[in-house]
Each structure stands twice: as C-alpha cells, then as structure tokens.
C-alpha cells in the first residue's frame, strides 16, 4: 500500500476524531495508508508545513485554516484540489459546497483550491441555568442583552459571567466585523489584490473594544486563558463562567466535557440593536495538497478526499464534532433526518443559519490578506493592551492597523508582481 502523510492542526478531542477518520479510511481500502500527524494547532501546522516543505519533507496533505489561505495561494506549493480530483478521475459536485466555503477556499474563478473538510463559524454559548437564575427567558441575541444578563449574573453572585480570552480574535473581532458588515480591509477585504489596506480601526469595532473594556472593568467579563491556568472553554464547561464564545466545532466536545449539572445552549453571535445582521464567515480549515509528491501519493490523497466527501463520512464527522456539514445536500439530508431536533445536536443548525443569514457580501465572504496570522496577532495585542493595560481603544487599534499594513506591505513586496489566483 502507498503510504502518505496528512498533517492537521487539531488536538484534544477533535484531534482524536481526525484519527478516527484516518483509521476508517485505512480500513475502507487496501491501496493506500494515510498517516495522520497532529501538529497541535493551525498556526503550528502552517509553520511546520512550511519548514517541511522547505526541507522537501512535506506531507501530501496539510490542513490549513482560513487565516492561512493567502499564504498558501501564493506559495506555489500546492496542487489545486479540483485538478487533482479531475486527474484522478473523481467526480466531485463542486457547486454542492457551501457558498461561504467556496468563497473562502476557491480562486477568483471559483475553482476550489483546497478540499473542504472541517468548517465552522463562531457561536456564543450560554449556561441556561445561570440565565434562568437571573430570569432571562430564551437566549440573548443582542449585546445589550448580553450585558444585561452578565450584570445580573454578577449581582446574583456568579464570579465569571462571561469568560473571554482577549487573544481570541476570530470570535471576538473577526466575526464581529463580518456580522456587523464592517470591512476588515479595503478592496473587499483583500479580494481585490495584495495592495489592500486594513480599516478595522475605523467603525464599530472601536466601540466594541471600548465595550469589552468596560465589561472587564465591571468584572462582567473575565479573562480566561492558558496563561491564567484555565481557558474560557474550560471555565465554561466547568460551570465557572456562564457565557463564552467559541467555534461551533466545540459543540461536540462541550457535550462530552461539560461538568455534571452544567446545562448549556448555543446561539448565534449577538449583534447590537439597530444593526442588520450579516452572514458570519466560515471558519475551520480545508485540506491542501502539496507539491513534490509522487503520483501514487496523489492518488491516495484523491482517494482520501473522495472518502471524506462520501455522505456517510460527512455525516459521521459532523455528528462526532461540531463541524458543519460542508455540502448543501449533506446539511439538507441531516436536517430532514431530524438530526438537529434533539440534544445533544440541537442548536448546531444555528451555525448554518448564521453562515447563511444573508448572501455573502463584500465584507462577509471571507478575508483575503497575506500573512493574516500576523495581522490577527496584532489585533490580539491591541485587544489585550486595551483590556489589561487600559490603553485607549482607538490608539490601540490605530497602532494595530498601522502594523498590520506594514505586514501586508511586506507580504506584497515579498511576492512582488504576483497576483491572487
């Protein structure tokens, strides 16, 4: 059997699910053997993939998240998945994929560059007992309500109404921008070319950051992170924090890990009253096929892609993680089978609802910026410096924007003369 490697950026419970997929694939046929290696998280995986590629030791398949799409696009290091599948004689219904996914992971012609695998979006999770305790019916949908319940929870003696890691830019910044229809960058969030400039220091996010700061000062939001010894997710499942925001992907893990007596539900991210909700942007990652491997390995990769695209596999994956089904038909069939109607899967359909709330617009089809990981880090720093050190939000964001632009310019220079595909 031909062996080939697959590096992925998930760990913990989700990482084990990936291993399950790999085992299932290996068991399903005898021609190929996939070797799946966890690189802990998306950033590490990107970094290690680059190192390996430079050393000509790259895996055949690597899992790159939304943030790394442009890095891959210009790397010249990958084979577009569409070509790969065609060459190996697989028929894939590319237009069956979620438009959000397609707009993120496809080139400007709409040709899919990477195989969609684990897609998600950011959600907010509530401890329903705590909500009940403060007399809130249903789940909050606006930031006003969130503030309100948080304040009441505090008064009711909850130490940590909302757990938040200010380094979590994806849910607390990126998705906020998108659903509030705020541009992260010019040229349609960078889709228009490498010369885009960030603009997140203007508009609603300045107020939002001011809001976060106020919440922290009032003790309604509490810093929860690795550095404090307990992440926001842990604090939530342990019942220590009553609200948290994270990926829908964690829905499965929460169900397993929630401490006894902790009851919770998931909801779409809140918006400010008076704003029109825009669709949220797709998260998670897709599978990229790297250059420099043998035909046999590519055949194996194609077979693997085909395997995960089978309806049974897709169903298994979405069932056992919180990731959404990546195809329209997949979603439809799960929905019609009543999958989302009862616990423990109830609520996951809201992710799809969030993603499809409106048709993707200029500001909500995705973000196409080079070295976006570094930009995220700048924003994270801005958020932390506001929240921890009391820096003025506008100042902090201006600085982050200026630095982000430098990162983008450097990227542009590095790939001088190249175009986004």
């Amino acid at each position: 059997a031909t062996k080939f490697e697959f590096w992925y950026g998930l760990s913990g419970d989700l990482g084990e699910r990936v291993q399950d997929v790999c085992k299932a694939f290996n068991a399903s046929q005898a021609d190929y053997e996939i070797v799946c290696v966890s690189q802990e998280n998306y950033e590490n995986n990107l970094q290690n993939t680059i190192a390996a590629f430079r050393a000509n030791k790259q895996p055949t398949i690597t899992q790159i998240s939304d943030g790394g799409v442009v890095d891959l696009m210009l790397s010249g290091a990958f084979l577009p998945v569409r070509e790969l599948m065609e060459q190996n004689g697989y028929e894939i219904q590319w237009d069956n994929y979620f438009s959000g996914i397609a707009s993120y992971f496809a080139n400007s012609k709409g040709e899919m560059l990477a195989m969609p695998f684990n897609s998600s979006t950011a959600m907010i999770y509530y401890n329903t007992d705590a909500l009940k305790a403060v007399g809130f019916e249903g789940l909050p949908t606006t930031w006003e309500q969130v503030e309100d319940v948080a304040r009441k929870m505090k008064e009711a003696g909850y130490d940590c109404p909302v757990g938040m890691d200010p380094a979590g830019t994806w849910q607390w910044w990126e998705q906020f921008m998108v659903i509030h229809n705020q541009p992260v960058a010019t040229l349609g969030n960078g889709y228009g070319g490498l010369n885009a400039e960030v603009t997140f220091n203007q508009g609603k996010f300045v107020d939002q950051l001011t809001f976060y700061k106020r919440m922290f000062d009032e003790g309604l939001f509490v810093n929860k992170s690795k550095a404090t010894g307990q992440t926001a997710n842990e604090a939530f499942t342990a019942g220590d924090c009553q609200v948290t925001s994270t990926s829908i992907a964690d829905h499965g893990s929460f169900a397993k890990q929630a401490a006894e007596g902790v009851h919770w539900e998931v909801a779409m991210l809140p918006i400010w009253e008076g704003t029109e909700r825009q669709n949220s942007v797709v998260g998670g990652a897709a599978l990229w096929t790297l250059k420099g491997k043998s035909e046999e390995e590519y055949k194996g990769a194609a077979a693997f892609y085909n395997f995960i695209a089978t309806p049974e596999q897709a169903l298994w994956w979405s069932t056992n993680t919180g990731y959404i089904p990546v195809t329209n038909s997949g979603f439809d069939s799960m929905k019609s089978s009543g999958f989302y109607d009862a616990a423990p899967y109830k609520g996951r359909e809201l992710a799809i609802e969030s993603l499809t709330y409106t048709p993707p617009g200029e500001n909500s089809r995705g973000i196409r910026l080079g070295n976006f990981g570094a930009v995220r880090l700048e924003v994270a720093k801005a958020m932390q410096s506001v929240i921890f050190d009391g820096v003025d939000p506008q100042t902090a964001l201006d600085e982050a924007a200026a630095r982000s632009n430098e990162i983008l310019r450097k990227f542009e220079q590095t790939y001088k003369g190249q175009q986004l595909p």
Partner: protein
C-alpha cells in the same frame, strides 16, 4: 599561544581538525552568510524565491519602537537576572569559602540548578507562581488579583527573571567559589595582619581580586540570558501578556517562525550576533588586563 608547537606535519593536522572545520563551516559560516543574504532580501516563506531589499529589513527594525522596547527589555532582563543570580551566588560562595564543617554538602547542592533545563524550571516556576495554585497564588486568596502574571507584564517579567536567576545560581556559584579559593590564603592573612576585619577584607581584597571572574560571569550570564530565556519564556508566558515578556531571541522566533518573516528575523539575528560578539570582545580585552595582576 606562546608555546612551541611540537610537531610538524603537512597532512595530519588537517585530518585531525578537518571534521570540526567542516562542521563549523556547514553549521556556522555558511548559514551565517545565508542569513546575511536573507537579511538583505525578502525571503518567501515557502522558499519560492526572494526579492532584494537592501537595508530595508534593518531600517524597518530600527524604526520599530517595539523592537527597541524588546532590546531594552532584554537588557533589563539580562541585568536583573544576572545581578540577582550573581549576588546570591557570590553571597553563598563567600560563606562556603570559609570552609566550615559540612560546607561540602551545601556546596554540592548549590550546583544543582545548573543541571536543570530552562523549560523544566519554567514549568516548575510557573506552577510556583501560578496565580490560582501553588505557593505564591496563596496571596490571591487574601488579596484577590494582587498577583497576576497572566495580565500584568511586570509580574510576568519578574516571574521569568526570578526563575532565570535561580537557574544561574549553580554556574555562578561554581565560578565564584573557584575564584575565591584561588586567592592565596596568605593574602587574607596579610589583610588580617594589616588590621582589616572580615567584611573589610571582603570589600578591599576579595572583591577586587575576583572582579575579573565577576566580569566573565557577567558576560556569560548575559549571553545565557539570550539562550536560556527562550525555554523559560516559551513555557512560562509565551512572550505574553501582550508580548511584554518577549526578549530578543524570543522575538526572532516569533517574528521568523510564527510570523513567517524570515528576513526580518534574519536581520534581527545578525544584529544579535554582532551584539554578542562585541560583548565577548569586551570580555577578551578584560581578560588580557587581568593577566596583568599575576
């Protein structure tokens, strides 16, 4: 090198020194030249090619106040950790030097920190200093939030520096003790005959005489503040909060390997190398002067 070289042979010395020379060329000179090249170009992360950038990378670094903050922080870190560590080590060494009964036991234990990997010490001290557990965290149960290295940069930096200083105690102690023991006993006795009391002898005789060792240690500690700090920071704070515990090496790592800016990192690397070389050069000059004494 004043000694006469005893053997003359055209081939043998090359065979002997060859392997090391090759390793040094492959792992030192070639890479350094390569990095120098990167520093003057914009290297594509995936290695597809690069664009000539002249001094841009350096100018970019020099214009970046965050870089200078890192340099200052590194200097502070180095001096604080070094000073703390050397002070403790010197104190211990000068008491051990009295060679009372049982000192041997203390002496051997004082060396232990040398054996410990920085990341291991980092993990241990992280627990000790953890705000919600362990030893220091206890203070938070009395005054909540008074100790919080997760968000307070000063706390985080202090925690790392203390750990670093602890790690250096063993090494510094060994050198100080050796230096003190190398001072002829008769010098102390001459001091006693001259009427000086122990503390005064320490200040007037011992300290000036171990000054060269102290200076050597200062340099070695500063260099180690570039090396050991990585493992500490990576396990204790990962440079946080808000990058406020990043030191030069850590920033190189973050910018280069996390931020995928190989060229900027290469430029920083070159600067760091020059810095270390000049420190060592100063040390050599000092050593030359020290020869004077004896």
């Amino acid at each position: 090198m004043e000694r006469r070289a005893v053997y003359r042979n055209k081939v043998l010395p090359w065979l002997l020194i060859g392997p090391q020379l090759i390793l040094v060329l492959v792992f030192f000179y070639w890479p350094t030249s390569q990095a120098l090249y990167w520093a003057f170009t914009l290297e594509q992360p995936w290695g597809g090619g690069n664009a000539w950038a002249g001094f841009d990378n350096f100018l970019y670094i020099f214009r970046d106040n965050r870089y200078w903050a890192t340099v200052l922080r590194s200097a502070f870190y180095a001096l604080a950790a070094t000073g703390l560590s050397m002070l403790v080590a010197l104190t211990l060494a000068s008491f051990v030097d009295r060679a009372l009964k049982g000192t041997k036991l203390f002496q051997s234990v004082f060396i232990w920190p040398y054996a410990i990997a920085a990341p291991a010490a980092g993990v241990a001290f992280r627990f000790i200093f953890s705000p919600e557990a362990g030893l220091i965290g206890g203070i938070n149960t009395i005054w909540p939030g008074i100790w919080d290295p997760a968000t307070n940069a000063a706390h985080a930096l202090a925690m790392v520096i203390i750990c670093h200083a602890w790690l250096g105690i063993g090494y510094n102690f060994v050198f100080f003790l050796a230096a003190l023991q190398m001072i002829p006993k008769s010098l102390s006795e001459a001091g006693a005959m001259d009427g000086a009391r122990p503390f005064q002898r320490m200040m007037d005789l011992q300290l000036p005489l171990i000054a060269p060792t102290a200076f050597f240690l200062l340099i070695m500690n500063i260099i180690s503040s570039f090396t050991d700090s990585f493992g500490l920071i990576d396990t204790m704070t990962e440079g946080g909060p808000i990058g406020q515990t990043e030191v030069m090496v850590y920033k190189i790592y973050i910018d280069g390997f996390k931020g995928l800016d190989y060229s900027g990192a290469a430029a920083q690397s070159i600067i760091l190398m020059l810095l270390v070389i000049s420190l060592t050069f100063v040390q050599f000059k000092w050593v030359e002067r020290r020869v004077h004494y004896n």
